[in-house]
């Protein structure tokens, strides 16, 4: 009976819940929010990409060897593993800002899968190009060395 009257008394009290869109909910100071990236500090070791559990970070590479950082906030689980793995302090960091909702226009799932594959392919293409150039250079060096040797022989 006591409980019944107590429960009835709650009708006249203010709600204990937070009126969310009008009031901000509780967010601690060191909330695990969006991952930030500083291009000027990064040493492009790709360690964050290697440790990321869901694969929310990927680096693409153009033919000159310049790398670009891509991050998907919908795939990220905000564990902070990339921040712990980063050898250069401040290059990748965690902010207290909650991630905004994804819009349909962003095509965040299929678009990301495509981007991920393209990024890996671009790196492979760069590596293949580098290898080809190295092989070409080695062949040219070899040819030059052989020519020089021949010249030496004829000179003698």
């Amino acid at each position: 009976m006591k409980t019944f009257f107590k429960a009835l008394g709650n009708v006249f009290k203010k709600p204990v819940t937070t009126k969310y869109p009008f009031e901000q909910t509780f967010i601690p100071d060191d909330y695990r929010g969006l991952i930030g990236f500083d291009e000027n500090l990064c040493i492009w070791c790709r360690r964050c990409e290697m440790v990321c559990p869901p694969g929310a970070i990927v680096f693409s590479q153009d033919m000159e060897g310049k790398q670009t950082y891509h991050f998907n906030r919908a795939v990220c689980i905000y564990c902070g593993e990339c921040v712990r793995a980063c050898p250069k302090e401040g290059a990748i960091f965690q902010t207290a800002e909650p991630a905004p909702c994804a819009l349909k226009a962003e095509n965040i799932n299929n678009g990301w899968n495509k981007l991920f594959d393209e990024a890996l392919a671009s790196r492979e293409a760069y590596a293949a190009e580098k290898k080809r150039k190295a092989a070409e250079k080695a062949a040219a060096d070899k040819a030059a060395a052989a020519k020089k040797e021949e010249e030496n022989k004829t000179g003698n």
């Binding site: 204990v16 967010i27 601690p28 060191d30 909330y31 695990r32 905000y78 902070g80 593993e81």
Partner: protein
């Protein structure tokens, strides 16, 4: 002998929160036999842990096995991986792990109690319990940075340190929570309406509990003193921080409520002891080794004993990871404990088991 009817409940049902299927054979509203069916939500997590993810990433994957005892899964995996790597973690990391496990136990037990109240037809008490539970979620958010998936334990230690102001706020909020818990204890213990649904319902004897390998609060309510925190001392020093075994004798829904409520007092004391005596040391042991050999770990999750087995082969990817969740051990006894009860009290009995089928089926 009356006519027998078969009544199914689940895998989707209004009073069931989990994809679990019970088939009751009833005789004039009395349940005479029960058949339980689990494994409706197989997600293939064990296979993913052994093929797709590296061993350091697996601790984040297994955290997603269960939303409620996320920290128990991550800690158990971290411990088993540390055994494979043969490293010892810093003392402060051990204490912080215990702190988060106990905070998690508070919110998990309060959730279970609120569902027992709801399924017994006591909506107001459900709301009240959920209201009092909110503080533990906010504290976990302040400690771990997230409300549900804590990602707090990592292989080798813990991910974050406990800030002094957060520690202070935990102590203050716990002080506020104790009178609220006294109030809940009073209602669950003395309310006459609730006792009609809870006292004597879903009872299991100590002998049956022992025969059917029951674990967790389910076993402790039947008088079986079984708790991993009481048995192992090497991985987490539970007895140093004031662990105490709680048992009841009657083994019914009422006894399970009492075990959970009384365990909350123990959890509060453990948290206070941890914060007051937190040792100073590093947070993480760095190593470049790879997992090798076999290891097992047992850990007391809010629902009972959690078991992890892992096998490594000196590569980044584990060869085998086996998870045995506490609910899996309890399924046989769950089916047994229904016998002789009214069909109408079945929802309250199911809620009092605190089943976590997502953990069981993974």
């Amino acid at each position: 002998m009356g006519r027998q009817y078969e009544i199914p409940i689940g895998a989707q049902h209004i009073s069931l929160l989990e994809p679990l299927h019970f088939k009751f054979t009833t005789e004039n509203e009395k349940i005479v036999a029960t058949e339980a069916n689990v494994y409706y939500v197989h997600r293939g997590i064990e296979q993913a842990c052994c093929s797709k993810f590296k061993f350091r990433q697996v601790s984040f994957v297994v955290g997603r096995v269960c939303g409620l005892c996320s920290i128990s899964h991550t800690t158990a995996y971290s411990q088993v991986a540390e055994k494979l790597l043969k490293i010892e973690i810093p003392l402060r990391a051990k204490y912080l792990r215990m702190l988060v496990i106990e905070l998690d136990r508070i919110h998990s037990h309060l959730l279970c109690l609120s569902h027992v109240a709801e399924n017994s037809g006591f909506e107001a008490l459900f709301m009240k319990t959920m209201q009092y539970r909110e503080f533990s979620m906010e504290l976990l958010e302040a400690v771990c940075g997230n409300r549900i998936q804590y990602d707090f334990s990592i292989v080798g230690g813990v991910a974050r340190d406990l800030k002094p102001q957060v520690a202070q706020s935990i102590l203050e909020r716990l002080k506020k929570f104790i009178p609220q818990l006294d109030e809940l204890m009073d209602i669950y213990k003395n309310n006459w309406t609730l006792s009609l649904k809870n006292k004597g319902a879903g009872a299991i004897t100590k002998e049956d509990a022992m025969r059917l390998n029951v674990v967790g609060p389910f076993a402790r309510a039947a008088g079986l003193a079984i708790d991993v925190r009481n048995e192992t001392e090497d991985l987490l020093p539970w007895k140093q921080v004031g662990f105490e075994m709680i048992t009841e004798t009657s083994g019914d829904v009422y006894a399970r409520n009492m075990v959970r409520l009384r365990e909350l007092y123990v959890s509060i004391r453990i948290i206070e002891n941890i914060i007051n005596g937190l040792p100073e040391s590093a947070l993480i042991t760095e190593t470049k080794a790879f997992p090798d050999g076999e290891a097992t770990v047992r850990l007391e999750a809010p629902r009972g004993e959690l078991f992890y087995y892992a096998k490594g082969n000196k590569t980044q990817i584990l060869e085998r990871l086996k998870i045995k969740a506490p609910t899996f051990s309890n399924v046989a006894a769950m089916a047994e404990a229904f016998t002789g009860n009214e069909y109408g009290s079945a929802p309250a009995i199911i809620a009092s088991y605190d089943p976590c089928l997502s953990c069981t089926a993974r």
